[in-house]
């Protein structure tokens, strides 16, 4: 047995060396999620789906907060729809990412009608069960590990060795996940290209969400639980980010009383609810759902100012 183990160990030297070297090559260009699992526990978080992942810049938020007298560093722990809808999986993941010793943190909770919904065909229980089975957010045991072997080996969406030489089409030029969790997406913003993307995204929401989704009682309950958990560590602000008017119109058709629901929830939880209304003249979008980096910076500033007011209360 010893001889076998010796030969096997010798054989494995090269693959292990390549493996370890490859682990360290993963960075913010590898995929839109990895880096969020590599930083230490955080004391201030931005949570939500891809709208906040791309739309809220921790750096801008921090600069406004620092000017307002708050000392700290925020971290964007938003992922995407179907990955970080409010629910058990995301709640537990936030718990793992949050520094239990945090006391004066700031927390931005980004809400929209979709991240508290589920598919009509599923019950709340089946929906939750599926999420636990499929979502990497649910499966990740270690969310504060560098390099994060668990994610790269199990959940990285491309073959492992493409970390060394990405396959064609694997990386989108201009897309980069920053170390503070902000996902920077720079795409062609010529009017024609944007209009085409907005049209595609609108069609997608019409076909895949408007008639197929419904409000999930369980997700709303977990949104409340998330707020309650975060409240113990600092100031919480519930935010509805702007979307293109076409997407906003779908949301209005889908859940006409969404703002009312959130206002009541915020009131019950003793937190503020900030709505940044849609305004196509004021805000620009890459595809109707996600803000451009420039708009994101402006919106982050507004959120920062609101948080400063909250902190002074």
């Amino acid at each position: 047995m010893r001889a076998f183990l010796k030969t096997f160990a010798l054989f494995m030297v090269l693959p292990l060396a390549v493996f370890i070297y490859t682990l360290y090559q993963a960075d913010g260009r590898s995929d839109p999620y990895y880096l969020r699992f590599t930083t230490p526990r955080q004391s201030s978080l931005i949570v939500g789906d891809s709208r906040s992942a791309q739309g809220i810049h921790p750096q801008v938020l921090d600069s406004v907060l620092h000017a307002g007298g708050w000392q700290g560093k925020s971290f964007n722990y938003s992922f995407a729809l179907f990955k970080s809808n409010f629910g058990r999986a995301y709640y537990e993941s936030i718990q793992k990412k949050l520094d239990p010793g945090s006391r004066n943190g700031v927390f931005v909770v980004s809400v929209d009608p979709w991240n508290i919904s589920r598919n009509k065909k599923l019950t709340d229980e089946v929906d939750a069960e599926r999420e636990q089975e499929r979502s990497f957010v649910a499966k990740m045991h270690f969310v504060n590990l560098y390099p994060n072997v668990e994610y790269l080996v199990r959940d990285y969406p491309y073959p492992f060795l493409t970390l060394l030489s990405p396959a064609r089409g694997q990386r989108i030029e201009g897309t980069r996940l920053h170390e503070d969790g902000w996902l920077e997406v720079n795409v062609d913003l010529t009017a024609e290209k944007v209009a085409k993307r907005v049209e595609g995204k609108t069609r997608f929401y019409l076909d895949n969400h408007l008639t197929k989704d419904t409000l999930s009682v369980q997700r709303v309950a977990y949104l409340r639980k998330t707020i309650e958990m975060l409240k113990q560590h600092g100031t919480v602000l519930l935010v509805r980010l702007p979307a293109h008017s076409a997407i906003h119109a779908i949301e209005k058709r889908y859940m006409p009383d969404f703002n009312g629901l959130m206002e009541r929830l915020a009131e019950r939880e003793g937190v503020s609810y900030l709505v940044i209304p849609p305004d196509d003249a004021k805000w620009s979008f890459t595809d109707g759902n996600h803000m451009t980096p420039a708009t994101g910076a402006k919106v982050s500033r507004i959120i920062g100012e609101e948080l400063v007011r909250e902190l002074r209360k």
Binding site: M1, A3, F4, P15, E150, R154, P159, L161
Partner: protein, 478 residues
């Protein structure tokens, strides 16, 4: 827990270490640990169905003992019937109930009657077809005095539930596996190396060939009306490779893992795509299932004894049942029926056992005749896969119609160049290694270590550079 996951890798590392160190001096302890590990392996999929597995195991264990101890033929028959009825009952409920209910409703619908069958909303327990067949062969063998029942419940439970074979076979025989479980196992370096190589080759087949072919196959079969005849042909050719890579890859990993624990499982594939006729194909494809049906269905039905009509009838029965075993859908029955039709000329001309050895024995290349035989067999098998893969018979026929169009003579639109190179490498290794149990077994055995390891490193590199999205193993659903 799939073989090609980190979870399984860590699980097996732990089991391997404990097996050959902590428990190595006690056979009993080794078996108990393997059984616990097997039940954990199964519970990772769905712990609730573990009770079904344990119940099925207990049923066959006690039935086996009762059959052996009962002195009258009537009593023996009672226990055998009870075991078969309950086992097939479970299989029928979980796998076939909805199919029969729906077919019945459709049938009475033809007479203007409106039936509203109750459909069951239950998932198919993984591996039920495999472990049911383990249990059935065990009690039938005891009934016919081919084996004696084991008195040790752990040995029997391990025979049914041994994790490498639990969810997708090979379908073992008690006479082959139980004696191995009752003998002390010795650590053998050559056996370990062989096991590792087989796992490596199985992983290549699954992760590189099958999983990269799968998305293309899925897209082509889902939107067949949008593709040219050549693309449809490419789709079904890829499916031939996908299903072989997937299933034989799984079997290779299962055999390799078991070998590393000192246990030899039955060979399940023997290079079936190098068969010179359909009869040879069936001696080389899913061998453990084919031989199971031969021994427990074909021979009891009379086999090839009796007249021509009997032979034809039994051949059709075995192929149709084999098709139906794969799933509750008419497509599988059509697939089985098609193979029976392909087999028939060989049976009637008495040439179904013409090719018993390995093709091109002692030669590097096949003769023109052998090559033609392989080409025709592969074409027939590939055509039949259309039925296996299609969602229903209408889909299958429309796929075949689409393929047989003038656009067959064009360049496929979903072509993936690097996959072609991977397939070429795969076919070359399989061809060169066709005298062994698996492609990689004999290749490089006499090469200097640098070259041999270079080949293994290359395969490892290709796996980690090109592994496809972790598709579920196709045969898990059967």
């Amino acid at each position: 827990m799939l073989f090609n996951t980190l979870h399984f890798g860590l699980f097996f590392l732990l089991i391997f270490f404990l097996y050959w160190t902590v428990t190595r001096r006690s056979l009993r302890l080794q078996n108990v640990m393997l059984l616990a590990a097997s039940y954990y392996f199964y519970a990772c999929w769905d712990w609730r169905f573990l009770f079904l597995l344990i119940f099925s195991t207990a049923l066959d264990y006690f039935s086996g003992l009762q059959i052996h101890h009962t002195s009258t033929r009537k009593g023996k028959r009672f226990w055998l019937t009870l075991s078969i009825a309950i086992n097939l009952g479970f299989l029928g409920i979980f796998k076939y109930y909805n199919f029969f209910a729906e077919s019945f409703a459709r049938f009475v619908g033809h007479f203007g009657l409106d039936a509203h069958p109750v459909f069951l909303s239950v998932v198919l327990p993984v591996g039920i077809s495999f472990y049911t067949f383990h249990g059935l062969s065990y009690v039938i063998d005891i009934y016919y005095d081919r084996i004696e029942p084991t008195r040790d419940p752990v040995d029997y439970a391990l025979f049914v539930g041994f994790f490498p074979l639990l969810v997708a076979g090979p379908i073992e025989r008690a006479s082959h596996l139980i004696p191995q479980l009752q003998r002390p196992r010795q650590f053998n370096r050559a056996q370990m190396v062989d096991g590792l190589k087989q796992v490596l080759w199985g992983l290549f087949k699954k992760a590189v060939i099958a999983d990269n072919a799968a998305p293309i196959v899925n897209a082509i079969f889902a939107g067949q009306e949008h593709f040219s005849g050549s693309t449809l042909l490419y789709g079904v050719l890829l499916f031939s490779l996908q299903i072989y890579g997937d299933f034989s890859g799984y079997s290779d990993m299962a055999l390799g893992v078991a070998r590393m624990l000192g246990i030899e499982l039955l060979q399940n594939f023997n290079f079936p795509y190098f068969s010179r006729d359909i009869a040879e194909f069936w001696r080389r494809w899913h061998i453990s299932l084919s031989t199971w049906f031969r021994d427990y269905l074909y021979i009891p039905l009379g086999g090839s004894r009796g007249g021509t009509w009997m032979k034809v009838r039994n051949t059709f029965i075995i192929f149709l049942v084999s098709g139906f075993w794969h799933g509750a859908n008419w497509t599988f029955i059509a697939w089985g029926g098609l193979h029976a039709l392909f087999f028939l000329p060989l049976l009637l001309s008495g040439s179904n056992r013409s090719h018993m050895g390995t093709v091109a024995q002692d030669r590097l290349l096949p003769t023109l005749r052998e090559f033609a035989g392989m080409a025709v067999t592969f074409t027939l098998v590939t055509l039949a896969w259309v039925f296996f893969r299609a969602k229903d018979l209408t889909h299958a026929f429309s796929y075949l119609r689409g393929m047989a169009s003038p656009s067959l003579v064009s360049f496929p639109s979903q072509y993936l160049p690097w996959l072609t190179w991977a397939v070429v490498f795969f076919v070359v290794v399989e061809w060169l290694g066709r005298h062994g149990q698996y492609g990689l077994q004999t290749i490089g055995a006499k090469w200097p270590r640098v070259l041999r390891w270079g080949l293994y490193y290359f395969i490892l590199f290709v796996i980690f550079r090109y592994f496809g999205e972790g598709e579920q193993f196709i045969y898990f659903q059967f």
